[in-house]
Symmetry: C2
Subunit: 343 residues, 2 copies
DNA sequence: TTCATAACTTTACGCGCGTAAAGAATTAAA
DNA sequence: TTTAATTCTTTACGCGCGTAAAGTTATGAA
């Protein structure tokens, strides 16, 4: 890149001594040209500053190298982290990730998909909002664009689903809590927007019954994605009323637990496993902030890496094999117990 | 949208009875055609499902309607929030935001700018990493694409800078802390990557001297963007050594404070303003999680909304007036004291 | 050396749209 | 009603690249 700017592929062809069709092949897939030719082109690229015009390229390709990544809420570090991991895997394979957040709004989720449609993505990785999502429109989108769902499942929609094995992970922490103290009651939202929440509730009930305990649910009012706020509000109420059936609370997710811990702290309750503690609190997800709560939060970590890697791999496989799938696979990954100070 | 799919503008012209050049004008700027014509087109758009091919459109335009938004770290809720606010303002004005995070890596920051270059953005809003950034390459980029910096300034680079008035906001909280208890010492990173950190340090020193106190700095070792971890580590050390010059700590940002609070909690120190408290801790930024720390964190909130709105407005103004600016303006917004329980 | 094959060059067309130019139709003002 | 200004239609070209077809050159095995 000695600075000489090249305006188009024609011009680059003349300065590099390679014909334009060959250059076109090269830019689409460097390995599709002879090694000696590739080296000549790469040498020329060192000298001249040229890259194909993205818009001209994509206009003539039926499907682009873009891959949409849509998550419910980008300001949630959990989704920011998993989205980032997915992005890395996509880039490695030579595709271009396009990251979009829906900010908890079903309308924006659909708007994001519409926006993606206009950039003709090769495929989309979608973590849907869940119950609030416009299922019909998402299904229509999946009919047009190869889409793999992750994190939250919608039955039958998309090429595949990749997520956490809530039955296993909740079972894991229920076992742990029962083994080390009083059986937990389950702290969740009354009308959660995420399908995982329902799975976790069922998994909690099943685990409790398996161990011969009777399940108990504490359900917080509130809508939307301000989970900490909801956890704090309901936590304050629970602590004030002091009519808990047990001293152990298992939260449906870490963000609720963060709010709950804050409420317990304000009320002067000691949370933890030691002597003199009033309450045990556990979460689920291993949220990035759960290491810094007071006390640090015992939780179950999802296998981010595996979920990100697998969902990207399945999508790319579907894209490159071009086969319309008949078998919609569901891949679930086990959680891992993260023991900290809160339970 | 009765479902009849239209393949291109030509086809839409024939079914709508409007000539293609007029349609082209309409899609570029609906107000550029007569009202009656616009209504006929809009009526046709209701019936037929058509939208111009994004790639064909942008190929022929010198500059697109894309606006890049680059932040240092998308997994930081602070940046996620301000980026979101900026996105909203951009969408309102009919442009398309393209959100990119640099994940703390200067190389990725440059890669993001290179990626943006290839989509020919009309302009870019950039919150640079700061000291670690490749200033030369950023400057070169700003020479090609109208760029407004926000959050972190790099002297002389870009069309403008929009950020917080650190002198004011730090002064504000130093005043408050001195008024209500012991003068604070300043808790920060020894080699911070963000230019705001230096401004805040200077502002702290200036405020202390103005009030006749001698400033004291506590500088945490550590690199990168894991501020909570760094705050926790250094916090643990500080608490263990117990050689603080004062019982009040002002943290350079909330994420350091979150780590510090966690360390204080683990060490059994009582943080807060009441009787029997060992320590007061304050932060800066009003991080989304600072409402849920234990105790809740007293801090200074940045004026997200104004920073987002103003930086977007200045950029759009520059884009639409097409004038190469000679006067690089810097706009700073005052912070607001958020009094909570920690100080 | 011979020859089949792979890889290349040359030529040419098309993608969907921006946009310029010239003439026709509409609108608003006189 | 006449006239001038807008706004439209028609026609045509170009953007930068994908890609097909036919001919040419390079490659490597026999």
């Amino acid at each position: 890149m000695t600075g000489t700017k090249i305006r188009n592929m024609e011009e680059f062809a003349s300065v590099s001594g390679i014909s334009r069709p060959t250059l076109s092949k090269f830019f689409n897939d460097p390995s599709s040209v002879r090694t000696s030719t590739r080296q000549r082109i790469e040498a020329a690229l060192e000298q001249y500053d040229y890259q194909p015009n993205l818009y001209a390229v994509n206009q003539n390709r039926r499907l682009t190298k873009n891959i949409g990544v849509v998550v419910p809420y980008l300001a949630d570090p959990f989704f920011a982290k998993i989205a980032r991991t997915i992005e890395e895997h996509i880039i490695e394979t030579g595709y271009r990730p396009v990251l979009l957040g829906s900010h908890g709004s079903p309308a924006m989720e659909i708007a994001n998909l519409d926006n993606l449609r206009s950039i003709k993505p090769a495929g989309v990785l979608l973590a849907p909002l869940g119950r609030a999502s416009d299922h019909a429109k998402i299904e229509a989108f999946c009919g047009e664009v190869p889409t793999v769902l992750f994190d939250a499942n919608i039955d039958g929609i998309g090429e595949a689903f990749v997520g956490s094995n809530n039955a296993q992970s909740i079972g894991l922490i229920v076992d742990y809590l029962c083994r080390t103290g009083e059986p937990p009651c389950f702290f969740e939202m009354k009308s959660p927007s995420n399908p995982n929440a329902f799975k976790r509730r069922s998994a909690y009930i099943a685990a409790m019954e398996r161990l011969g305990h009777s399940p108990a649910l504490i359900q917080a009012e509130g809508q939307g994605w301000e989970f900490e706020e909801i956890g704090f509000r309901e936590g304050t109420r629970v602590v004030r009323d002091r009519n808990l059936p047990t001293n152990t609370l298992l939260c449906s997710n870490d963000r609720l637990a963060i709010g709950l811990l804050s409420a317990a702290f304000e009320a002067g309750l000691r949370v933890g496993i030691g002597e003199g503690c009033d309450l045990r609190v556990a979460g689920h997800d291993d949220h990035p902030f759960s290491r810094y709560t007071c006390p640090t939060l015992t939780t179950v970590s999802q296998d981010y890496e595996a979920i990100a890697k697998t969902s990207a791999a399945i999508l790319l496989d579907r894209i490159e094999s071009e086969e319309t799938n008949d078998s919609r696979q569901e891949r679930l990954f086990d959680g891992r117990l993260i023991m900290r100070a809160s339970a």
